[in-house]
Structures are given as structure tokens and as C-alpha cells.
């Protein structure tokens, strides 16, 4: 009995941190820039295909990280310049435009890789012993990566110059511009950071999921709801949302069944959007 409690506890922690990792890029882009970036799922997909391509070429897995920085960074720059900036970062317009872009990116990847499922080998197979019970090494690694990223995101946002500039821009763009912050460049860099994080998440989760051009669609819809529950634009909100979703999913699944769990998460999203549209931990 103890074993299953411990493992399920680890599973909840893993679910929460993996969710946080997958939605981090969207949390930045949506929370700070107000861009309803529905193409976030496609950036994750491109990240996963990058990992696949790197492995198929016979290179070590770790090379997918610089590769995805290049691929998703470049893609983010182009998308920001051609789509997001001309639409003045308007939430609705960017939602529509990224919807169309998602269609294009899926087809574009299909041209190169086809529609079939691809798989990437787990780079760290085997498991580690935790309090006498084994847990897959790669999942522990994902937890560590996600936790490290979350912590550095907090520090970067709170303590660095760039962080305070972003906070200034988010709080009052006109005033930020007036005190000499180039909001155009800052918003662009923030957007690109979001796309790179999405691609990086794709690289990290690639060994665990089916890799195919449409894999991003279900991921992004869920990520949207998580960010809503947590609250826009704060790291605490990101963790809060992921915890709430991961926790409820596991708890309701355990007591009832996974379909009810999924429904309760949707119902919870509806409740939050209705009563607390700014989430549990809103940005003040």
C-alpha cells in the first residue's frame, strides 16, 4: 500500500511539473504579452520532430537542445515579425492568425516527415531507486528540468534588469516606452523566448509521446485551461494551475474515472473563467 501511495505521489508531482514545462512558453506569451498563441502546440510538435530528426541522423540526443533553439528561435522571430507585431499583439486577432498558422505548420511538417507516428528512444532508460521504490530516470530528469526552469524563471523575472523591464512593459507600455525601454524589441524577445521554451518542451517530452504533425492540438487546449486556472503572467500562477489540474486529475481519476476527471477539469476552467477570470494567483 505504501508503495502505491509513494509512486502515486511521485506521479502527481511528475504530472504537475511536466504540465508546467509544457505550458511555460504559453504562460509567458499569453500571460505577459496577451497573445492567445494557439500555435504553441505546433511549436512543441516542431520541438519533438527536431529531437526525432537529431536521433534519426544518429547524433546524440543532447544536440536537439541547440537545434531546437535555432529552429524555434528563428521561427519565433519570423512569426513575431510577420504575424504578431502587425496585429499589435491583439488577443483575438493573434488567436485567429495563429490558428491559420497552426494549419500551415502542421502541413509543413507533414511535407518533410509524413503523417506516420514517429518515436524517439528514451535517452536515459532505466529507473532510479527512491525510498526503496523505483521510478523511471527520465521522468525524474524531466521533473528536475522543469523545477530548475521554474526557479530560474522566477529569479529572472524578479531579479534581473530584463525582468523588471518586462514587468514595466506589461504594467504600462506607454510609460515604459517613455522611460526608454524599447517595448518593440522587448516584446519580440519575450515572444521568441516563449517559442523556444515551447520547442524545448517538445524536445523533452518527445521520448514519451507519439510524434506526429497533429500532436500539438490536444496539448494546447489543455494548456490554455491550466493557465486560466493558475492566473495569467505569474510563475506562482503557472505552478498553481498545474498543481490544481494535476492534482484534480489524479484525485478524480482515482475515485471515479479518467473521463470524469477530464470533465471536472473543464468544469473547473468554466468556474474560474466565470468567477475568477484572472486565476488563483493573478498579477497585481
Amino acid at each position: 500500500m505504501d508503495a502505491i501511495v509513494l509512486i502515486q505521489g511521485m506521479n502527481i508531482l511528475y504530472t504537475v511539473l511536466a504540465l508546467a514545462l509544457v505550458m511555460m512558453g504559453l504562460a509567458i506569451v499569453m500571460g505577459l504579452l496577451n497573445v492567445l498563441n494557439i500555435v504553441h502546440g505546433e511549436f512543441i510538435m516542431i520541438g519533438a520532430f527536431t529531437a526525432y530528426a537529431v536521433q534519426a541522423a544518429g547524433w546524440p540526443y543532447i544536440l536537439s537542445v541547440p537545434a531546437v533553439f535555432l529552429v524555434c528561435g528563428a521561427l519565433g522571430l519570423v512569426v513575431e515579425r510577420l504575424l504578431i507585431r502587425p496585429l499589435r499583439y491583439d488577443p483575438f486577432d493573434t488567436l485567429l492568425a495563429t490558428w491559420g498558422l497552426g494549419l500551415l505548420l502542421r502541413k509543413f511538417v507533414e511535407m518533410f516527415f509524413g503523417r506516420a507516428f514517429r518515436s524517439v528512444q528514451v535517452p536515459l532508460p532505466g529507473s532510479l531507486q527512491i525510498a526503496g521504490h523505483s521510478y523511471p530516470t527520465y521522468r525524474i530528469m524531466i521533473m528536475a528540468i522543469s523545477a530548475a526552469l521554474l526557479v530560474s524563471l522566477v529569479i529572472w523575472f524578479r531579479k534581473t534588469r530584463t525582468g523588471s523591464r518586462i514587468r514595466a512593459m506589461v504594467g504600462n507600455p506607454t510609460l515604459a516606452e517613455a522611460v526608454g525601454i524599447s517595448t518593440v524589441a522587448l516584446a519580440r524577445n519575450t515572444f521568441v523566448a516563449g517559442t523556444i521554451l515551447a520547442g524545448f518542451a517538445g524536445v523533452v517530452i518527445a521520448p514519451l509521446v507519439p510524434i506526429e504533425p497533429q500532436m500539438g492540438i490536444t496539448l494546447v487546449v489543455n494548456a490554455f485551461f491550466m493557465i486560466i486556472i493558475g492566473g495569467l503572467g505569474t510563475v506562482v500562477g503557472l505552478i498553481g494551475g498545474a498543481t490544481m489540474i494535476g492534482g484534480i486529475q489524479s484525485a478524480v481519476s482515482a475515485v471515479f474515472d479518467p473521463t470524469t476527471a477530464y470533465l471536472s477539469i473543464l468544469a473547473l476552467s468554466v468556474l474560474f473563467l466565470w468567477r475568477w477570470p484572472r486565476g488563483i494567483f493573478p498579477r497585481v
Binding site: 502505491i4 514517429r118 518515436s119 523511471p136 497533429q214 474515472d257
Partner: protein
């Protein structure tokens, strides 16, 4: 329902008379008919979640048409395919079926797509032309003029449950699937056969279709419940995610897994590193060692070269549909739905996976139990002539 059946019978008698008259005329004008192609609308998954099967479905259908045309066509007419997309919504499927009937004036419709689209297509065809549905499905469909060549839950479960229990050395089952009609029907059948062998079902879990599912908690439960066999009715991406997680948690050494919709493409997604102790029971595997299958795959290689798409039971059924249609049409001498229906019952035809015989509009066929060996299947047992268990 009763009323409809009696009227069908009556029209049937008339049509048979008309049909036999046609046979006479046809042999008379046989030559000119070759110039008048027999049109077949074929639904394949060009878009949607199952679109990964699309290229192979197109190829299988083209190979089926080649085969039939090489053998003199159907009723002396060359077969001509009109490919249409069955991967969109049911309403789109119905609309396409109407187009095939009214504008393209097809003589038959074949399809490999999901069940909701099938019902929509049947509603649009209204039994006016024969319709052959080829993929794995949940059974219990008696629409007028429809034929089903795919595996039914009875066929997948009847023999495999017993056999797998023997392999795994235990009779306890953990059922996990997606939450919709096919998994629930399949598990319903599985439970009958599990009971028959005196086994027990430890748990039954369903995950929502189309959600971003995580399976860690189920895997922990499976580990602690320690069943002999994990019976899966997960489809597509969920099938891949579950099995990859299962193996990542190191459970694949201890527990046997039987997945009910595990064909070559899904196995490629699961990957060689996660397929240990994983079994599949289907009517076709691409590496079946038989002359018929070799001829089928060689024809594919010849036509598409090394780029030939990976065949699987989902796509290969469309090849069978052509062979089936030719056999029935030639026995009936007509494509009239009623005559066709009468001729179809009891007819046998040869497919790459062996002889099939129609019973109650479904196919009696050989079923294969395969064990995954890295990225390929190794057939370990053949169940001869398994009944579809349908009552149409």
C-alpha cells in the same frame, strides 16, 4: 423494421429476375462494356486523427483495383476509383457520399474511416448501392446494403483471450481503453470470454477520447494490482503514450499486454524499445508469410517502389473489398443491391491474409495472434476461420 424486411424480400425476387436477364445481355455486349468503367468511390483518411493511414489506404485500394482489372474487371467492366476523404466530420462524409451517388454516379462505395462517418455515409446511401466497410469495428450494424470485412470484437477476443492467458500463465485481466463505443463493446465481448475461461477482470478503465491523457496513475495501479494481462482498447496516440509509459516504468518484463488496435503504424510509434511482451490479435499483419501476402506486397513494391506505404490491417481491407466485390458481382451478375446481397451471403474470396467467407454480411476469417519483436510482429498463432458473431 419487420415491414422493411418484407418489402426488401419482395423487391429482391424482382431484382433477381432482372439480374439474371442482365447476365444474358451482358455476355452479349461484353466488349463494349470494357469501355464503360465501373466506378467505385473509396473513402480514405486524408485528414483527421487517423490520417496517418491515408497513404497506405490509397495504395491498398489501387492495388485492389489493379488486381481486379488484371483479372478482367468486374462484370467485364474496368474498375475506376474515385478517392474521397473520410477523415472529416460525419456531415462532410455524408455530403461526399451524396456527391459520389449523384454527380460521380458510382456503382459501389468502399470505405475505411471511423464509425460515426460510416453511419453518416449509410444514411446518405440509403442502401442504393453496395457499401463495403473494411476496418476493425464494433459490429451490430445491419444497414441495408452494407458489408463489413473488418475484425469484429468477437473475432478479436474469442480465441486470443484463452491463448494469451496460457502464455501469460494467469487469468486476471486489467482492461484499459478509450471512452467510446468500440472499446466498450470489445471489452464487453472480452468479459464473456474471460468468464468462459474462469478468469477475472481486476479493473476496467476508460480514458476520454481526444484529451491529453497521462497514464502514470493507471500504470501505478496496474503495478500494484499485478494482473496477468493488460487488455488495451486504446487507440492512436493514447495507445502509443500508454505503452511507452508502461515500458518506461519497467512493467513490460512482468506483465503481458494485448492491444486490440495495434498494427504496424502504431507499433512504429510505440517503438522497438517499448514493445516487449506486447501482443496483438488482428486479421492481417504485413509480414505474414504466405504466397498471397507476398504477391500483395510485391505488387505494392512494383507500383510504388521503396516508397510504398506501410500496409496494415486498417488499409489492407480496402484491397479485400475489391476482391470481395468482384466475387459477389460475378456470382450475382449484377450490382443491384438486393441481388448483390443475396449473392454475398456465403461467398468465399481470397485475400492476402487468407480465404474469407461472408456470413451475415460480415467476414469469417483467419485471425492471427502476434507478439511484438522490436519494431515488427512475429505471428505466434493462427486461429482458423473465426466467426464474426454478427446476426444481420
Amino acid at each position: 423494421m419487420v415491414l422493411r424486411r418484407t418489402t426488401t424480400r419482395r423487391t429482391l425476387m424482382k431484382s433477381i429476375a432482372a439480374g439474371s436477364a442482365l447476365v444474358g445481355i451482358q455476355s452479349f455486349v461484353g466488349v463494349s462494356r470494357a469501355a464503360n468503367p465501373l466506378k467505385i468511390g473509396v473513402f480514405v483518411n486524408d485528414t483527421g486523427p487517423a490520417s496517418l493511414f491515408g497513404p497506405a489506404q490509397r495504395a491498398a485500394a489501387e492495388l485492389g483495383a489493379d488486381q481486379v482489372n488484371g483479372a478482367g474487371g468486374i462484370l467485364g467492366r474496368n474498375v475506376e476509383i474515385t478517392f474521397v476523404d473520410g477523415g472529416a466530420s460525419p456531415a462532410e462524409g455524408a455530403k461526399t457520399a451524396v456527391r459520389l451517388m449523384l454527380s460521380d454516379k458510382v456503382d459501389m462505395i468502399f470505405g475505411s474511416h471511423d464509425s460515426a462517418v460510416r453511419l453518416a455515409i449509410e444514411g446518405a446511401i440509403k442502401g442504393k448501392v453496395p457499401y463495403v466497410y473494411t476496418p476493425v469495428y464494433e459490429g451490430s450494424d445491419c444497414a441495408n446494403g452494407s458489408y463489413f470485412l473488418g475484425e469484429t470484437p468477437q473475432q478479436q477476443m474469442e480465441r486470443s483471450i484463452e491463448k494469451l492467458a496460457a502464455i501469460a500463465g494467469g487469468k486476471s485481466f486489467y482492461l484499459i481503453g478509450n471512452d467510446y463505443v468500440w472499446p466498450r463493446t470489445t471489452n464487453g465481448q472480452a468479459k464473456i470470454y474471460i468468464e468462459k475461461i474462469g478468469g477475472k477482470v481486476i479493473a476496467e478503465e476508460y480514458y476520454p477520447l481526444g484529451a491529453a491523457n497521462n497514464f502514470e496513475s493507471s500504470i501505478a495501479k496496474i503495478k500494484s494490482a499485478a494482473p496477468a494481462i493488460v487488455l488495451q482498447t486504446l487507440v492512436g496516440g493514447d495507445n502509443v503514450s500508454f505503452n511507452r509509459a508502461f515500458s518506461d516504468f519497467g512493467l513490460s518484463d512482468s506483465f503481458a499486454r494485448l492491444s486490440c488496435l495495434l498494427e504496424e503504424n502504431t507499433l512504429a510509434g510505440i517503438g522497438a524499445d517499448a514493445s516487449k511482451n506486447l501482443y496483438s490479435c488482428l486479421a492481417y499483419f504485413a509480414n505474414l508469410d504466405s504466397p498471397a501476402n507476398k504477391a500483395f506486397l510485391d505488387a505494392g513494391k512494383k507500383r510504388y517502389g521503396n516508397e510504398a506505404p506501410q500496409q496494415s490491417t486498417i488499409s489492407k481491407g480496402l484491397f479485400d473489398a475489391f476482391v470481395f466485390a468482384k466475387a459477389v458481382a460475378e456470382k450475382a451478375g449484377s450490382l443491384d443491391v438486393a441481388v448483390f446481397g443475396l449473392a454475398a451471403d456465403g461467398i468465399s474470396f481470397e485475400t492476402p491474409s487468407g480465404t474469407q467467407k461472408i456470413k451475415n454480411r460480415n467476414a469469417i476469417k483467419d485471425m492471427y495472434l502476434a507478439k511484438c519483436d522490436g519494431g515488427t510482429f512475429e505471428v505466434i498463432d493462427t486461429f482458423k476461420a473465426v466467426s464474426p458473431g454478427q446476426t444481420c
